[in-house]
């Protein structure tokens, strides 16, 4: 989804991996992270990527009993909304509190966009994809 800043299906997929695969979700999540590093090189954002998706996966795993699509949409939306804040610690270390704060604030419009994109993608796709992935995974492990 290049050209649409912060509109991404990764959050949706991370949540799905967490609720369907459980702890094994770390494999596809960090495969994605490694591929990102390979394609785009290493930078400060690389440090963010080492932990940020794990936060969403952990939250999704803890809420795996949730069945309402709105609940998953809200979780994904909140993650998008807080994406900048969750990344800010890296800039706190590298640039200090003032830099981290100004970095976060200047990125708020992108966080709002991220929230909206995540919300609607999850609202529409999470439940049907969860059912499909769960069925496929169950079929795979019972063979």
């Amino acid at each position: 989804m290049m050209g649409l800043p912060n509109i991404e299906p990764v959050s949706l997929l991370v949540m799905l991996f967490a609720v369907v695969f459980g702890k094994k979700a770390v494999y596809p999540i960090y495969l994605y992270v490694v591929l990102e590093f390979a394609f785009y090189g290493l930078n400060l954002w690389s440090v963010n990527y080492l932990y940020i998706w794990l936060i969403l996966a952990a939250a999704a795993w803890l809420l795996r009993g949730m069945t309402h699509p709105l609940g998953w949409a809200l979780l994904s939306g909140v993650f998008g909304l807080l994406f900048g804040a969750l990344c800010a610690p890296v800039y706190l270390v590298t640039g200090g509190p003032a830099f981290a704060l100004s970095w976060w604030i200047s990125g708020i419009p992108y966080d709002l966009l991220h929230c909206a994109g995540n919300f609607f993608l999850a609202l529409v796709l999470f439940q049907p994809l969860r059912k499909l992935m769960t069925r496929l995974y169950q079929n795979m492990i019972t063979r």
């Binding site: 309402h68 609940g71 809200l74 909304l81 708020i108």
Partner: protein, 130 residues
């Protein structure tokens, strides 16, 4: 998740969105017509002077002068060669006249489009013969 908790969560997210949007709009710097203010003094052949003030984000003087319609010129070996300023042409081939560029009080060693501009800078274009 119970319906009430879901509604509460939705309201909390909306509140967070409003708060974050409020923080952003309350703290973003005010926009200006241009980030830098410069003055350009034109000294005509009859020694009358006019001062022009511009607000710009441009990096080089030539871009401002051309875009504001103050000068006309040609692309020369060393950049923009100014042939006309504020409606008055200087024709070197006729009487050796040209438009001399000054940065502050110093004669510029480069053409206008190679002259960087900073906020508060002053320039002069002086009709000069010889």
């Amino acid at each position: 998740m119970k319906r009430n908790k879901l509604i509460l969560a939705a309201v909390a997210v909306l509140a967070l969105i409003v708060i974050m949007a409020g923080i952003y709009f309350a703290t973003r710097p005010e926009t200006a017509a241009g980030g830098k203010t410069i003055t350009v003094k034109v000294v005509h052949a009859d020694e009358t002077e006019k001062v022009f003030t511009y607000q710009t984000d441009a990096e080089y003087l030539g871009e401002v002068l051309v875009n504001e319609g103050l000068v006309k010129g040609e692309d020369g070996q060393y950049g923009l060669y100014i042939t006309e300023v504020d409606g008055e042409a200087a024709v070197y081939e006729e009487d050796g006249a040209y438009w001399a560029l000054y940065e502050g009080d110093d004669y510029a060693n480069q053409s206008a489009d190679q002259t960087p501009i900073a906020d508060g800078a002053s320039f002069s274009l002086v009709y000069t013969i010889g």
